[in-house]
Symmetry: C2
Subunit: 384 residues, 2 copies
């Protein structure tokens, strides 16, 4: 396999983008990435998108988006793994370049979520759960993650305040990210007193409904010098599935797919958790960040809650997590999230992260989750 | 890149499978393929499926299907390119093995289309067209292909009888395929007198709504001897997009994405059209097979109609096309179609095609189309 590097990233400000359709949003971010890389012609393109049929009445995005990006004729592939669709698009693009098939490949993610009602959006998202078992009983994602939160609190003594600390920390980071949907400070007390969604999770424990896209351009690592910016090398990729329904799992306090995908990426990269300077992880709900921080080996099992409360995962902490603001503050257009993680890691490793720039960041990890952990994709990137 | 070979294929009888859900149908075909290969553990899995959210209320099939196949933990990836989703899943699986990432990889396709009404199914399929331009004006796929048929008839003198000859030939082949949805003979007169759908296309010019799945197992070519059956080598892959909306194309009588994808596959395989012994192509409508037979270089432009009428594409003809019965007779569960083409080619190259076995078949080509040609995927396979 050939070595692969990121040479361009792009992402517009996320939010409720009423004036733009799926294709407009995608093209805006893709052109930013191509401009950042200094390329105007692609060899191939991968798009992560969860449910454009349900959200926007349009499938066949590989063709639609290649066409509207002015690249009709190239191979355009859409991949889906629920909210891990973006991470998976990046993995497929990596495989394409690594195999020697193509050289200049764009990996993008997109979701336009606000053109349908909140109820319809909740249904669309629920199709990432097991609809024959979980869906028919009426449970949706806040309920599934609430069950995981209750189990984690029961087994390890994780507290309500520790859950809230995840959201507070991510909003603090997001205030320094000009592309984040919510650039506002929140407090532990505010999270605990916000509207109940599914006990113990309140509205401020949940990532929002968002319109947005993100894109990156990758090339063979030995061609990096031909482009405008410093390259960032992709040194590990890992992907795993788990039983899709929670009732089939032995343990609700860990995420087997996250653990397996991280271990595969660590093995490929020749790294251990201690070698990773920071991570972007899938904080769709506050409990998710805590469990993921344990499942990727940043903290021992049961120690994720105390770690975030003690500031260890803050920008200035020992183990920074979600410097971008995470899904909670930056927003969560589901198909785009995994690519936005790669955008953040690339900018941090290039030293372009502005006010939220980490010191001495050399190696970053991205973890992108599908559903309640039915799938997970992990990538490890290193400054060149 | 490593050489890659097919070592197992599986497919159940297609039709209206009322007793089975998406996951049941997929698992049945996948287990047949794994049994054919003699493997019980996969390294990774790819699934082509067009619109499971709209057809069956279930996304995240990479996880659902890996789980129900007893393979939870492996990387499970769903890809979509409308009706070319199956061919694209095969291409991604090929890239995975060719890159050296994984060894024993399953590529499957699935669509469960009959759990919703005919009107809802027509809408779901229409999301493969340009919904912002074509969809809003009320046109669906029979209408789009009818426009292509009218243009082809006008420019080249293609006749109503020639269109009908495609359906008649494919039903004749399908009568010898025990897994085909419609195993019945039809006549040119019967096609011409069948119910009008979108002038000049009648109901017997159109492929049906079908439930079904298909699966194949691929491995590095140098490991073929470890498995039960002879391997079939994948010697070329090509993928291309085109403008998704018909109004943006310069010429409605050819399919640019089909032409580009075929040329890429020919180049990689080191073959020309004359070197191909037979093809499985995307006859979603009779006109599609005629245009595709020209766009892949089997016949000169405008000669596809006379060729089918003269029997050149029949089983015993000079250029056999769709020995399986094609989409018309075998059925068209959209995500599964591209994989079923690989199943047919593999069985023909192994000499396992029963009554429809071609003589001296050494090299076969599969062409799988998305929408009205917004995407196309071509593979070339050779007996080992």
């Amino acid at each position: 396999m050939r070595d692969v590097a990121v040479i361009g990233v792009g992402m517009q400000k996320w939010g409720e983008l009423w004036e733009q359709s799926t294709r407009d949003i995608f093209v805006e971010s893709a052109l930013l990435a191509m401009d950042d890389a200094g390329v105007d012609k692609l060899d191939a393109m991968y798009v992560g998108c969860m449910a454009p049929g349900l959200f926007a009445g349009q499938e066949h995005l590989g063709s639609v988006l290649a066409d509207y990006l002015g690249q009709a004729n190239i191979p355009g592939t859409r991949v889906e793994s629920a909210c891990a669709s973006g991470g998976l698009a990046f993995r497929m693009a990596f495989m394409d370049v690594a195999s020697g098939m193509n050289d200049i490949v764009l990996a993008g993610g997109i979701e336009k979520m606000t053109d349908i009602s909140g109820g319809e959006a909740t249904y669309a998202l629920a199709t990432a759960a097991d609809m024959e078992w979980e869906g028919v009983s009426g449970v949706t994602f806040p309920g599934l993650y609430a069950m995981m939160a209750v189990a984690h609190m029961d087994k390890y003594g994780t507290t309500r305040e520790q859950l809230a600390s995840v959201a507070v920390k991510n909003h603090r980071n997001g205030m320094m990210n000009p592309r984040a949907q919510y650039q506002s400070e929140i407090t532990v007390e505010g999270v605990i007193n916000s509207v109940k969604v599914a006990d113990p999770l309140n509205i401020l424990d949940c990532s929002p409904i968002t319109d947005g896209a993100a894109a990156v351009v990758i090339v063979p690592a030995d061609r990096v010098k031909e482009f405008k910016k410093p390259g960032v090398k992709v040194i590990g990729t890992g992907h795993a599935t788990d039983t899709i329904a929670l009732h089939a799992r032995e343990d609700l306090t860990t995420l087997a797919a996250v653990n397996a995908s991280a271990n595969r990426a660590y093995k490929m990269a020749g790294k251990e958790p201690k070698d990773i300077d920071f991570a972007e992880v899938h904080d769709c709900f506050t409990i998710a960040e805590i469990i993921v921080s344990e499942s990727i080996g940043f903290f021992e099992r049961g120690k994720g809650g105390p770690a975030v409360e003690a500031g260890e995962t803050a920008l200035e902490g020992r183990r920074p997590i979600n410097p971008s603001g995470g899904l909670k503050s930056k927003g969560h257009p589901v198909g785009a999230t995994g690519i936005a993680q790669i955008v953040e890691i690339t900018e941090q490793l290039r030293g372009e992260a502005g006010k939220r720039q980490l010191k001495n960041a050399r190696v970053g990890l991205a973890q992108n989750m599908g559903g309640s952990g039915g799938s997970s994709v992990v990538h490890i990137l290193e400054a060149m």
